[in-house]
Symmetry: C2
Subunit: 350 residues, 2 copies
């Protein structure tokens, strides 16, 4: 659906970033009713985007132009969100923020539409979307939690480099090109990287696995690990749920993968666990030697689960989860929130 | 030490493979007393190796030439080990087998010298070395198990491609070269791989994470996951220890990494856990934002642990472990077993 007279005025802050481009493509593909698109680049430099085949300039953020939108997507930094989001919401703009700035604010619903649509409130015009690593886990755990009860979660992540932004992705690709040129020793000694490449990530990422996403605190946990714990508790309405995460960046391009263990309130057979997972909204389940990988599920809307097994005790299941960090972990979830607001009739044009 | 009159006659089956080359380099570097080296290629084709600067031909396996060795290292397939190892041991040759063929045979000690040297017996001339994924975990858990008691283990692996052999490594490198040539989309869509490359591993491995190592059984567990469980139980003398593993291949060259959770018999502070780990034989411990990665620990003798945190409950610690799959996971462990036999005086020349 091209821009329509009946549609909404939609602002997008961060429209030129990786998530922003995905968001515009989703609004097109899912025929979201946009009367006018107002894209803004995340900050310093103006740029442009393509929407329904038309090039639209994306200037630096303009609060006045945003405050007359019906709906604003913020797919930008925490700092930009902190400045803009409360003012927009107060001025009546439905504001869906994908940053971490408001996710733990009790006044702001943190929403995955398949998991906790009930958290949306007509009077809460600022809505947060969750951390990209936690999203697939929450989708996979949601029905098990509702039907059986999840009592503890352990999760190790295999996080794609695009989750750290475009400069990190460039780092992976330039390092990989440099390494692919130097023919590696057939006995598997890693070729040396040219010095001085690598700024966006804490270690060289090509042919590596780096167990640090975010800053590591005094308790030994990284920022990402804390987000996974705190946001999962919030989305599942389980404020004291024990959650232990180990967040690791791996040299994949798109698609965060997770090895998770869910301890349940009671024992569950593998067959029954598979049955509950197959009934879980938004989850695509495989078994045996069929499973999603970052290469197969990256770039798709799917949250995929597979490798379902009994875990360390009969009350526990182990599983593998993959979802695209830029889509379900970010742009798709934000779009789905907007679609849910539309469905409820809370999103009229003003 | 060059070959010496006082040394041993040492056979190596699989000398031309990836682990075999590492083993020869270790015997040189660690000055293992070799009077005569008898290297054999793993099978079909003859080849040669370099040892102490001399080229030595490595013919197909010759059982007669092996049975007059003092010591034989088998770094070859399960099939070759099944045929050769029992006969060699019966004929009096100390035989250290790195394959999976005898690891669960109750008559054959399964030994990591830092962990369970007491399993070595003077009358058990066939000795097995453990699975490369389990080795670092066993080293890291050993002293915690002895001092506090390990009651459950959950582990997700980040396994290097060299662990699947040279053809798998060639697959990773050729795929990476192909992908590095096609300039990927700046928005992170993975470039398409040329069709038909990829035989040694179940999925394309470049820029991917593949949750399958070995065959997946009816209970949903893979061969590698079963090995980790069974062999860890055996090495820790904990036959009913609950162990749940998720084994994942990642596009790293050398160095298996693990995200592990160890549930203990009683609560332990992070500081005390670090103290016990720092006293653990064979383990190198880091903290804060210092940690080993496959690129830093691959190619070294180190078993590194870091990112130590309280896990999902106060009786649990989470940690990150890296060790080289070809060294501590294979050739180094076999060499250390031979050194322990020497130290005990069980390895005289015949």
């Amino acid at each position: 659906m091209p821009p329509t007279r009946d549609g909404l005025i939609v602002g997008v802050v961060g429209a030129t970033g990786m998530v922003g481009r995905e968001l515009l493509a989703l609004l097109e593909r899912r025929k979201f009713p946009v009367r006018e698109l107002r894209p803004f680049s995340s900050g310093r430099t103006a740029a442009s985007v393509i929407f329904h085949g038309r090039r639209i300039s994306a200037p630096a953020v303009n609060a006045a132009a945003l405050s007359s939108c019906d709906l604003a997507f913020l797919v930008s930094s925490d700092e930009v969100a902190r400045t803009l989001a409360p003012r927009l919401a107060e001025s009546g703009v439905w504001t869906i923020d994908d940053s971490a700035a408001f996710r733990m604010d009790p006044r702001v619903p943190l929403v995955i539409p398949e998991v906790n649509p009930g958290a949306l409130r007509r009077d809460a015009r600022l809505i947060a979307g969750p951390n990209c690593t936690m999203t697939g886990l929450a989708v996979a755990a949601s029905r098990l939690h509702r039907e059986i009860g999840v009592r503890a979660v352990r999760v190790a992540s295999y996080q794609a480099v695009s989750g750290a932004g475009r400069s990190a992705l460039e780092e992976l690709l330039s390092q990989s090109r440099a390494l692919a040129k130097t023919r590696p020793d057939p006995d598997g000694r890693a070729p040396r990287l040219p010095a001085g490449i690598g700024r966006a990530l804490p270690r060289a990422i090509a042919f590596n696995a780096v167990p640090q996403v975010g800053r590591i605190g005094k308790d030994g946990c990284s920022g990402e690990e804390n987000k996974v714990r705190d946001e999962l508790r919030r989305v599942l309405s389980a404020p004291r749920l024990p959650v232990s995460a180990t967040a690791v960046r791996v040299p994949t391009i798109r698609g965060h993968a997770l090895a998770a263990w869910l301890t349940l309130a009671r024992p569950l057979s593998r067959a029954r666990a598979l049955a509950v997972l197959r009934r879980t909204p938004g989850l695509s389940v495989q078994d045996g030697d069929e499973y999603p990988t970052p290469r197969s599920a990256g770039g798709t809307d799917i949250v995929g689960a597979a490798r379902v097994r009994i875990g360390a005790n009969p009350r526990e299941i182990a599983l593998w989860i993959v979802s695209d960090n830029l889509l379900k972990g970010a742009a798709l979830n934000s779009t789905q929130i907007a679609e849910e607001l539309l469905r409820r009739g809370w999103l009229p044009s003003r």
